[in-house]
Symmetry: C2
Subunit: 290 residues, 2 copies
């Protein structure tokens, strides 16, 4: 049973669509069909929002490992993480049943549901969302146990992320906003159905998903400067197959660098602005069925 749900925007202060949805629902009330759910609406990082930046000192959405939470530090986001963990968690023994954290990306990832476990519950959730929103993508980041992630949503007993793009930082696009709202509503619809014991094993059809592989960095010279950019054939093609021998980068002197994997991969977070300083060009994934 979901007795308490936290719907969160503004974990990154320049990701406007989640912030706007939270503010609109605070003002208008959440849609009436969710009245049976106890949904708390939260803006996570007001200071970052005010400054129109991703974070003030460090990325809030990496501050929720057990280690980080148990090692008090003085950065704005480390302190904020403590306070959020006290509110929703404490992580591992949480008051909150389900934390849904809303993000957006400059990558053309459409409406993506990120789940951190591929257990029965999350499989049913993914299938339900995909049935209501066939255009949605399901991304599975289960490369480590749920509680080892540093994400804000892991303060809940269960936690997922909504990730919608492409949208520039600090900009609100109507299409991205509406996809965000539709996915948030689909997840809450699932919670109602789950509480009403309307979700039966194998009643929903299996669905396509993508399991996170690894980050692929930009090619750098000996001084650490980039020598290439994302190839136009890859740009904006998130979750499309990148075949062995297909171009992924173009160097500034006009040469193509090819994907050398043994089989196709499904890139995502292609050319995401927030990973630019880290020189991450995209993440790989494998197509699976849930």
């Amino acid at each position: 049973m979901f007795n308490s749900i936290a719907l969160v925007g503004g974990t990154h202060g320049n990701e406007t669509s989640g912030i706007q949805l939270i503010n609109n629902w605070k003002k208008q009330g959440i849609p009436q069909r969710f009245n049976a759910l106890n949904v708390a609406l939260t803006i996570a990082n007001e200071a970052a929002l005010e400054a129109n930046v991703r974070f003030i000192d460090e990325d809030l959405n990496r501050q929720f490992t057990m280690d980080a939470l148990n090692t008090p530090r003085a950065s704005k986001e480390a302190l904020l993480a403590q306070s959020i963990n006290n509110k929703f968690g404490p992580k591992g023994n949480a008051k909150t049943d389900f934390v849904i954290d809303i993000h957006n990306t400059t990558s053309e990832m459409g409406a993506t549901l990120i789940i951190l476990e591929a257990d029965e519950f999350h499989i049913q959730l993914a299938r339900f969302v995909k049935q209501q929103m066939p255009e949605a993508n399901i991304l599975v980041e289960d490369e480590k146990p749920y509680l080892e992630h540093g994400y804000l949503c892991t303060t809940g007993k269960k936690g997922v992320m909504i990730e919608v793009g492409g949208q520039p930082q600090g900009v609100l696009r109507e299409d991205v906003y509406l996809l965000t709202q539709t996915m948030a509503e689909a997840i809450l619809d699932f919670c109602i159905a789950y509480n009403n014991q309307q979700i039966e094993t194998d009643a929903l059809p299996a669905c396509e998903a993508f399991r996170l592989g690894k980050n692929i960095g930009f090619p750098l010279d000996e001084k650490g400067k980039r020598i290439a950019m994302v190839h136009h054939a890859l740009q904006d093609n998130d979750f499309k197959p990148l075949l062995p021998g297909s171009p992924m980068f173009r160097t500034f002197d006009g040469k193509d660098i090819l994907w050398q994997g043994e089989k196709e991969t499904y890139p995502h977070f292609i050319n995401e602005a927030a990973y630019f300083k880290l020189d991450v060009a995209f993440a790989t994934s494998e197509r699976i069925m849930l």
Copy 2:
């Protein structure tokens, strides 16, 4: 005659395409056909680039009015403006014949040449660029005299801006990069032709251009909070006609707000991230022939 040209990137530190072009040409040399021109390659705001932000204290590209230059202030960008003005200018009595300042925008403006005067010289330049690059847009900001603008490029005897989009801040897209390079080369090709007296009045066909009107703000509530977003029918349609009665905003409770002008306008800088904090939704313009 153009004896000295300054090609500038990084006036805004998170506009990557101009920065990358300058760095690549510094490394590879500028294309050989421009050897006859004396082109200085400059990164304007290294500190903002390092921080991956538009500016540190205030917008550098608004610090070049005569008033601002003659009123010493202590902000990082005010000091930087003094130094740039000493290097290229002084404004009004400039050492540099032509300053070409490269920008990018989150708006879908394609490759846009911004000129600040619609005199014979700039008309020929616009026609030449448009002939080499039919996909280019020409934007005319001549609502006040050249020297009254606060733009960096006005430190030169003549100055123009290259503005290419859509590209998120802090991201380099190959398509935007290539359009930027093509337009920079077209302008330098014009300089060569001009120096060689190959530009004859009325030899080039007249071209379409857009004359800046005014900024249109987002609708706000009594507390100054937005109540609407750019309508999906307007989003990404920079320089396309917006007809009287066409939707330009959608309110968060689902109503359309229509363009009430007496005739069509040609919006641009639609939903530009840098103007988000200013609550500017787009700028209007009138279609003219040059």
